[in-house]
C-alpha cells in the first residue's frame, strides 16, 4: 500500500501541507482532516486520537457558532486524561457550515444537527466519517465495522450517484452495538444466530460529559437509556447483513436488549445469551471459544494504524472481562469476551466489554477512515 502515490480527491490539498520530515524516512504528507463537533466529548477524543496519527493530520476544528473564531484551546474545555495536543490548541474554530479545506471530515456532532450538516459536506464533495446516529440506517450509507462488513463499502457508489458528488457518508454503529456485533460476528459467520438476549451495563461517558449527573448515578443503577435498546436490536442486523443487488439485506435473527447505566467511567459491559442455527457436533463451547479467539478481518490483514492485533480478546479468568482492567486492551480497540459457557435455555452465554468512547466511537470512526484510505476511497 503506497500512500505516497495515492491519487484521489484529496490531492488538491497536499500542496497546502508541510509535514514534519522524520529523519531517515521518505517524506510523506499526511491527509488534512476536519473534526465536526470538535469541542464535545467525541470530538475531543477525535482530536486526541489524531495526534501523531501516521496518515491523518488535524487541520480544521469545527463547532457551533458560539465557539467559532476562538482558539481551540479557549473554546474546548478539555476533559481527557492526556494533555490537549499542542497543535490542536492553536487552531481557530470554524463554524458549522463553513467551507472547509479538508476533504476528509470526522463528525462527532450531536444528533440534533448531525443529519443536515453531514449531508451538506458530503454533497459538497467531502468524505464524512460519522459517529452520529442520523444516517446509520440510510439505504446507501455503510454502517461499518471494518472487521465485519468491509464489503458494505460497495454502497458508496450508489450514494455518490444519489448525491451527484464525489462525497459520501460512512457511519459507525452505536457504542454498545459495536461491542455486541463484534463479539457475535464469528458466531453468526460460522453457526448462524437464531435469537439473542443482551443486557448492558453502560459507562457514564456514553452519555457525553454532562449527560449523567453524579446525583443520578452515584450508588445507583438506571435501568433505562433513551433510544438505546432500539439501536441495539436493529443495528447488528444491518451490520451482519449483506449488500446485495444494490441494497442492504439484514441478518434475520431476533435481538432482545435491556440497557442500564452503571457508575463506571468508560467501558460498556454486556451479558449475552444466544441460540445458534447449526451447531458443531462435538464440543460447542470449544468451537465458540476458538471462533472468537481466531476472529480477524481486513484491518488486521492491512495492518491499519488503529487496528488491534486481535479484534476479540478471549479472557479466561472466571471474573473477567472487567471495565477498569480490560477496556484499554490494545489502546481500547479490542473487544474482550469471557465467561463463555452453556445456557440452560439457549445455547451459549458470554460476557463482552467494549471501550465505548474508543472502539465504540471515535476509534471506530478512525478505523473506518483508515479502511477508506487503504481501499483508495478518499
Amino acid at each position: 500500500m503506497d500512500h505516497a502515490s495515492r491519487d484521489h480527491g484529496l490531492n488538491r490539498m497536499t500542496e497546502l501541507l508541510t509535514d514534519e520530515v522524520e529523519t531517515g524516512e521518505p517524506v510523506r504528507q499526511r491527509i488534512p482532516v476536519a473534526v465536526l463537533g470538535a469541542t464535545g466529548s467525541v470530538g475531543q477524543r477525535f482530536v486526541q486520537l489524531l495526534e501523531d496519527h501516521p496518515w491523518f493530520r488535524l487541520h480544521e476544528v469545527v463547532a457551533s457558532e458560539r465557539s467559532a473564531g476562538k482558539r481551540y484551546a479557549d473554546a474546548a474545555q478539555w476533559r481527557l486524561e492526556t494533555s490537549m495536543p499542542s497543535k490542536a490548541s492553536d487552531l481557530v474554530v470554524r463554524s458549522l457550515g463553513d467551507e472547509l479545506e479538508s476533504g476528509l471530515i470526522f463528525s462527532g456532532l450531536d444528533s440534533s444537527v448531525a443529519g443536515e450538516a453531514e449531508d451538506l459536506y458530503a454533497d459538497r464533495g467531502a468524505v464524512v466519517v460519522s459517529n452520529s446516529k442520523n444516517h446509520r440506517m440510510d439505504p446507501d450509507v455503510p454502517l461499518l465495522i471494518p472487521e465485519i462488513n468491509a464489503e458494505h463499502l460497495a454502497a458508496i457508489d450508489r450514494q455518490r450517484g444519489r448525491r451527484g458528488s464525489r462525497g459520501y457518508i460512512v457511519t459507525n454503529p452505536n457504542c454498545s452495538t459495536i461491542g455486541l456485533a463484534m463479539a457475535i460476528a464469528p458466531l453468526e459467520r460460522l453457526f448462524g444466530i437464531d435469537a439473542l438476549h443482551v443486557t448492558t451495563m453502560q459507562a457514564i461517558s456514553g452519555a457525553g460529559y454532562a449527560g449523567v449527573p453524579s446525583y443520578a448515578i452515584l450508588d445507583n443503577v438506571i435501568p433505562y437509556i433513551s433510544g438505546e435498546e432500539g439501536k441495539i436490536e436493529s443495528e447488528p442486523l444491518r451490520i451482519l447483513g449483506k449488500w446485495s443487488g444494490g441494497h442492504f439485506v439484514d441478518a434475520s435473527f431476533r435481538i432482545s436488549a435491556q440497557t442500564n447505566r452503571v457508575p463506571t467511567i468508560d467501558g460498556h459491559m454486556m451479558t449475552i445469551a444466544l441460540s445458534l442455527r447449526k451447531k458443531p457436533e462435538a464440543n460447542l463451547i470449544d468451537a465458540v471459544r476458538r471462533a472468537i479467539a481466531e476472529f480477524s478481518g481486513e484491518p488486521q490483514e492491512l495492518a491499519l494504524p488503529s487496528a488491534p492485533r486481535r479484534p476479540l480478546h478471549l479472557v479466561d479468568e472466571a471474573d473477567r472481562p472487567q471495565p477498569r482492567l480490560d477496556r484499554d486492551r490494545e489502546r481500547g480497540m479490542s473487544v474482550s469476551v469471557g465467561r463463555i459457557r452453556p445456557c440452560p435455555i439457549l445455547d451459549i452465554r458470554m460476557v463482552a466489554l467494549v471501550h465505548n468512547t474508543i472502539r465504540g466511537a471515535a476509534g471506530a470512526a478512525l478505523l473506518n477512515a483508515e479502511l477508506l484510505e487503504a481501499r483508495g476511497l478518499l
Copy 2:
C-alpha cells in the same frame, strides 16, 4: 390473633421476662430471641431490625469464640447507619454451641459453620430461622417466602419427626432469588412460566462488610459472583413449587442467570425476560401489570409487623426502579418492579429491585418468624 395467650415451647421463657409496660396498653410479653453470628453483617441487621420489634425481644447474641464473653458493643464493629440499639450494647456475647435460653433463634451465620450449628440448636428444640444457604435445599426444610409458599410450612412436621424434637429449621432464599421469585410469583400463578433469563446487578453489601475490596469495584463491574447463578437457577423452582405427598415438588420452568457485582451499596437490580405457558387473550402487558400490582399474600392478610402493605410495587416511570431511590420502599420490605414491556423473543421483559440486606436477608427471616408465630408454630 391473641399473643398473650399463645401456648407453646417458649412459655418456659416468659417468666424470665419483664417487658416495658406501655401506658394504656395491656401488658404483653415479647418473645426472647437469640441471634447467631450477631457481630457479622447479617447479624447486625437482625439486631437493628429487632430493636422495638412488637413481638420479639433480643435476648441473646451469639458469635465465635473470639467474641464470646465481651459486651456486644465491644465485640461488634457496628457499621449500620442507625446507632447500635442500647439494649443490645450491654448483652454479653455467647459462644456458638452454648446452651441458649431463647427458643427462637435467628441465624446470620457464615455458611462455613451454619450447617452444623443450626442443626444442633434445632435438635435441642429451638426454632431456627436461618438466612444461610446450608439447609435451603434439605428435603424437609421450608425455603420460605411468606407471600408465596406459606403452605411449605407443612414440611415442619416431617422435619420435627426426623429430629425427634420440637425444634426445626426454616430458611429464606438467597438475596437475589427473593427479588426474582417475588417479582414472578404472580405470573407463575396466573399464567405459568416457561423460560426465564435474568441478569443481576448486585450491590456490594451482598458480599458482607469486607467481601468486595474497593480497589476491585470502584469504576468497575465484576461479571461473576461465586455460586450465585446456581442458586438463582434452582431456588425459585423450589419456592414456586408445592409441598405434596410429603415432599417438595419443584416448579418446572428453566432459568438462565447471569450475575454481576456493581458499585452500589444496597439493592440488587435485575433485568428479566420470560415466556409464559398460557397467555390472556387480550392485552398481555396490562394483565401482567395488574397481576403484579395486585399481588398479596398471607403476611398482608395477617398484617404481620414486618409485612409490607404491598409486597410488589409497580413503578411507572420509564427509568425506575433504581437502587438508591427505591430500595427503601416500605422499610426495604417491598420489591419494586418496572419497565414491564413485550420481549421481541419471549413474552415479557421487566426490571426488578430488592433491598438485598433487608427483604433479601434479615428482614426476610424476621417475616418468616412472624409467620411462624402467627401460625402458632413457635
Copy 3:
C-alpha cells in the same frame, strides 16, 4: 408557648384552612406556607420536610414561568428517596412574582433570581425564610443559626422599617458554613477563637441535581467550588458576631478555607485546626470536648419541631464522623464532631460533618421559621 393563641399577620389566612383534626388533641390550624423554587433540589427538600410538619402546611408552590400552571407532580422531576407527598402532587405551580396567599415563604431559589424575588415578597408583607446567598450579608437581614445567634432577630425591626412593611427576610448560611459555625460556636463562646484553618470535602448534592456531572467526579476530587471559600471565610464571622447599636458587629478571628468536591452524595466533611484566645489551665482537650457535648440553644429549650435534641454530636471513634454513617443523626439536623486532638501548630484539631441539604439548607430554613413562629414574629 401557646400556638393556638398566637396573634399575628398570618391570622388573615387561618380562615382559609381546614386542618385534619387529630383525635384527642385540641384542634389547631397549621400555618399555610409557600415554597419558592419548589421544583429545584432545595425546593424539593422543603416540600419533603413540610410533609406532616406540625406547625406549617404546604399551601403554594412557586417556580419559573416554564412550570407555572402545571400540577406539581408534573412540573417537578422528583429525586428524593421518599415519595412525593401526595398533598404536594396536586398543587398547581404558581409563577414567580404572582401574588401569594401564604404569609410565610420559604425560598430555595437560585441566586440568579432570589435577590429580587425575595425583596418583592418581603416588601409585600411576607416573611421570607431564604436559603439563598443573595441577602445573607445585608446590614439588617439576620444570617441565622437559632442555636447560636437568635438575638440577631433584633435586626428585623430595622429591616421592617426600611421596607415600610410587616414583611422581612431571614436567611440561613451556606451549607458548609453551618457545619463549621455550629462546630466552633461553643469554642468561640468559651475561649474565643483566634485563627482557623478549614479544609472541606463536600458532597455532590451541594451543587444541585445536575451541578456535578458524574464524568467530572467519579474516581476524582475537584479542589475548587466557585465562591465557596469566600463564604466560609466571612459568614461565620457574621454569625458568631453581635447585633449591637443597630448593626451587626462581626467576630474578629481569621479563617482560611480550602474547599473540595468529593464523590459523596450527601454530607459535607471538614477538617479544622484552630487557635484559642484564652485557654483553660487544665486539660484543654477535655474542656473542648465538654463544650461541644454540652452545646445547646434556644431551639432545644423551646423544643422546636425540627430541633435536634443535641445540636452537636460528639463522636468518640477514631475514624468518625463519616458522611454515610453519621449524616442522618437526628434526621440530619445534628452536626457531628470528632477526632478532637491537639494541633502541633495551633491549639486544637477536629473533624466536623453536616448534612448539607438538611441542616445545611432546607432543614436550617425550617428551623429558622420555627424560631420565628415561637418568638411570635410571624
Copy 4:
C-alpha cells in the same frame, strides 16, 4: 555515564546474564534485580515498572512461604490495568530469606516483616531499595527523594560500616509525604518554611488491594488513616534536613497533618497552607509559582530513566490538579501543584497531587535505585 564499564559488586552477576541484543546499539547487560513481596500491590507495581527497564532486569521474585515454589503467574493475583509482563510470569517464586543471586533488591514487603528481612539481605551484601516504613528513620539510612536530598547518600558509608558489609538499605518516604515534600522543597530551599497545615484526601489504593472495603468507602469519607499523620508530620523534616557531621539534622519547621480516605482509586490530593521565614519583597505568589515551575534536581540532570522531565507540574486552571486527570502526568512520576494563592492566616495556600502507587511508592524506589546506579553505588 558509561554503564558498560561500571565496576562494582554486581559484576559477579553479569556472567549469568544474556540480555537481548538490540540492533545497532552496543551490547549492554542489564542489572539483575529481585523484588521482595512481589505478589502484593507494591510488588506488582515493581514488576510492572521493571518491564522493559533499560538498566534493570527482573531476575527473582520473592514472597511468603505460601507462594514459594509456584510460578509467579500462579502465585500472584494480578490486578493492574496492563497485562502481567510475560517474562515475570514464568519466574519461580522464591521464599523470603532464601539466598538471592541479585545484588539489587526492591522491597515492597509489608511492614510486619520488612524490618528484619531487609536487614538480612543488606547484611549479606545486597543493596536494598525499600518502600517500607521500617527503616525510614534509622540514623544511617537515607530517606531519599533524589530531586531533594541526594546528598543523604553520604549516610551509606556509615551504614556499611555498621553492617560490616557492602550492602545497605535506602528507603523512600510514605506516599503522601513524597507529594508534600516535593511540593514544598523549592519553598524550603528559597524561603524557609516556618509552619505548615496539610489535609490529605487519599486514594484507596494506598491501603493495598484489600485494605479498604467498598462497603466502608462508597459514598463516604473516612477521616482517619492509621499512623499516617505521624509520618507526614515527621518524614518531611528528615527529607528536607541535612546529613552533617555523620548524622541527619532535621529541618525545623512544624507540620500539622489531617488525613482522610476518599473514594478515588489512585492519586493522593492535599491542601496545604504554610508560612515562610523570609519572603521576597515583591510579589510572593509569583515567586512561589516560579520556584515550583523551575524546580529540578539530580535525576533531571542525569536524565535517569524514570525521572520526570519536570518533577513539579504547575497547573494553572482554577479547579486543578484533579486525581483522575493529573495523576498520570509523566507516567505518574510528577507531582502536580495548583491553586497557589495567598492565605488569610499564613502566607501561601496550594493544592498538590501525587500518584501514590507510582511516584509515591514503586516508582520512587525505582528512581532511588537509578540514582544509586548513576552514582556508582551499586
